[in-house]
Amino acid sequence: MKMPTLLGDCAHAATAAEARFRIDYPNSKTRASRVIALDNEAARMMPHLAADDWAGAHFLTYARTDSAPGIEALKMDATLEASDGTRSKLSRELDHADVVVMIASGGEAAEAAGVIGTACSVRAIMTAGLIVSADRTDPAVESAVRALRPHAAVLVVASDADYVPAMLRALRA
């Protein structure tokens, strides 16, 4: 049987006046975002980004893989480096991470994307890939897209480096 609705409930609820009564409280907890530069150009953005004020983001650069070829996915690991030179293990950074944003700038990103993407996949961590290049027709961009596609649920090609902080702010990083 169709349940009656009070006609006009939506009209009342959707007014600007009613918007005043929306409950004002923090409706989300701090996210653990890991922002990882995959190549040298992307790495150069990290100190500037890291200097900003963020909710819970770590800004890191992929340094090297620590896995032998053919190793099982769960044991894959890598060394990451922060802007102050501190080194950490990818596996430690992924503990409790909510999202990993991989940033490339048209350099060689395939190995890093593969290791990080696989490590995230086995831990069911969301991944996003961001390729920043002023020239989207540059073949290196296409190569970076190809490298990141299997490992990123979302892939963005941006011409403007300002997009990186804009995106991270939008995601409450």
């Binding site: 296409e142 979302v154 941006a158 939008a170």
Partner: protein, 428 residues
């Protein structure tokens, strides 16, 4: 999440606001041509970008869009008599032409030329396709006429409608570039709507509920690709173009007509959702046109005599929980257009984006906001013409294709995403 000042910048479009000035750089849909069907027909009230205007068609078939109110005592010229080449205020007989120029002030000596000193604000109104377009910016920077494919194909190949949406333009437009909601909100309609059902691509939609997304900048805006698994390791791509500031196209399904939207601010708390359907190479069939007129696909049923949807917030969108339980609709609201409108209006007149929690798959929306903000600021600060004004940016199409896994859609579909006269849309 968006800071309040950026939300304000993007959502306010009145005169003198950054986004309002940006919208005024473009030719935008103002009315359906059917609203002014013949010479000397009744004038029509129009509000755009928070400006109260009046559209009329004079005795010689010229269209005009002028300030709604008589310069004499502020009477609404909607009460005016449209006759003998102009619109005459019924209060004291002042008369205006389609440019807003006063051409008669009966109380003053004709020889005095007093009427030449009176001019209402006026904007051009031109008919292209089924739409009357206006440009509300500086005449010195008037761009070339719009060249959108839906408006320039033969009349028998295209159909356009509009509906009043009671929300800010941006939250409505963001729905148009948010491909991931289709899997949920519109899932019932993919099976039943005569303008959607039957396409092979629908199976891919229904078979892969976690699409991957790729967002690529284009000269005029963005291409947003949604990728789902197809057979043999290939990917089914649905590619949505967004052209700044507010044009979107829905990727096609089979040989169904292609549809899309314009989202045009009425004021900061209302907008027009323009919806079009066209086929690039053939006339719409009688059945297709009837389905559009009956409110299927991206169109809607109306409250008679208006462009307000029949299902609207005053009647709770005719919510049908029983149909929802039967699986006919996902949200309980019937029709794709009203499914969108009901949820977007429920956000409130201007959604408070400081409270939202976007996720990575919202990157199309994040990028669109970023580009809008940059373009509005560049126009304000340096006078830079925003993307989308150039008619070359308007010659885009949506596409739905199956590609091998190693191909980037933006390269593989370079031709599919362009208007190619005489060539069918790329669709699965």
């Amino acid at each position: 999440m968006l800071r309040k000042e950026v939300n304000d910048l993007l959502t306010r479009t009145g005169h003198g606001t950054a986004m309002g000035e940006m919208f005024r750089q473009y030719w935008v849909p103002a009315l359906l041509a059917e609203e002014l069907p013949e010479d000397d027909c009744p004038p029509v009230r129009v509000k755009l970008f928070s400006e109260r205007l009046l559209a009329f068609r004079d005795s010689r078939g010229r269209h005009g869009l002028i300030d709604e109110f008589c310069a004499h005592r502020g009477v609404s010229l909607w009460f005016g008599r449209n006759e003998e080449g102009g619109l005459r205020c019924p209060y004291h007989g002042w008369k205006y032409d389609v440019t807003g120029q006063c051409v008669e002030v009966p109380s003053e000596p004709e020889e005095s030329g007093f009427c030449r000193k009176i001019k209402l604000k006026g904007y051009p109104l031109i008919k292209i396709g089924d739409v009357l377009w206006t440009h509300m910016g500086d005449p010195a920077n008037r761009p070339p006429h719009p060249e959108w494919e839906f408006a320039t194909v033969a009349p028998e190949q295209t159909f356009t409608s509009k509906r009043w949406q009671e929300s800010n333009w941006l939250q409505a437009m963001e729905g148009g570039i948010d491909s991931s909601h289709v899997t949920w909100l519109h899932s019932g309609s993919l099976k039943t709507d005569p303008l959607f059902r039957g396409a092979r691509g629908n199976r891919y939609n229904q078979g892969d509920l976690k699409p991957h997304f790729e967002v690529v900048e284009a000269d005029g805006g963005l291409f947003i690709g949604a990728r789902r698994n197809a057979e043999d390791g290939k990917y089914y791509w649905r590619i949505t173009p967004w052209v700044m500031p507010s044009f979107t196209m829905v990727p096609p399904r089979g040989d169904h007509p292609v549809h899309g939207h314009f989202w045009v601010p009425i004021d900061d708390e209302n907008c027009w959702a323009w919806s079009f359907d066209y086929h690039p190479v053939r006339p719409l069939t009688r059945e297709e046109r009837k389905a559009m007129q009956d409110g299927f696909g991206v169109h809607c049923k109306y409250t008679p005599g208006t462009y307000r949807p029949r299902a609207n917030k005053d009647n709770d969108y005719l919510m049908d929980r029983a149909a929802q339980r039967r699986g006919e609709t996902y949200s309980g609201v019937e029709g794709i257009a009203i499914q969108d409108a009901s949820l977007q209006e429920s956000m409130g007149p201007i959604v408070d984006r400081t409270k939202e929690n976007l996720v990575s798959t919202d990157n199309g929306i994040i990028m669109a906001r970023h580009r809008l903000r940059k373009a509005a600021e560049a126009l304000r600060d340096t006078g830079e013409t925003p993307p989308g004004v150039d008619p070359a940016h308007q010659k885009v199409r949506s596409a739905a294709v199956v590609l091998p896994p190693d191909q980037a859609f933006v390269e593989a579909c370079k031709e599919d995403l362009k208007v190619r006269p005489g060539v069918k849309q790329s669709s699965v």
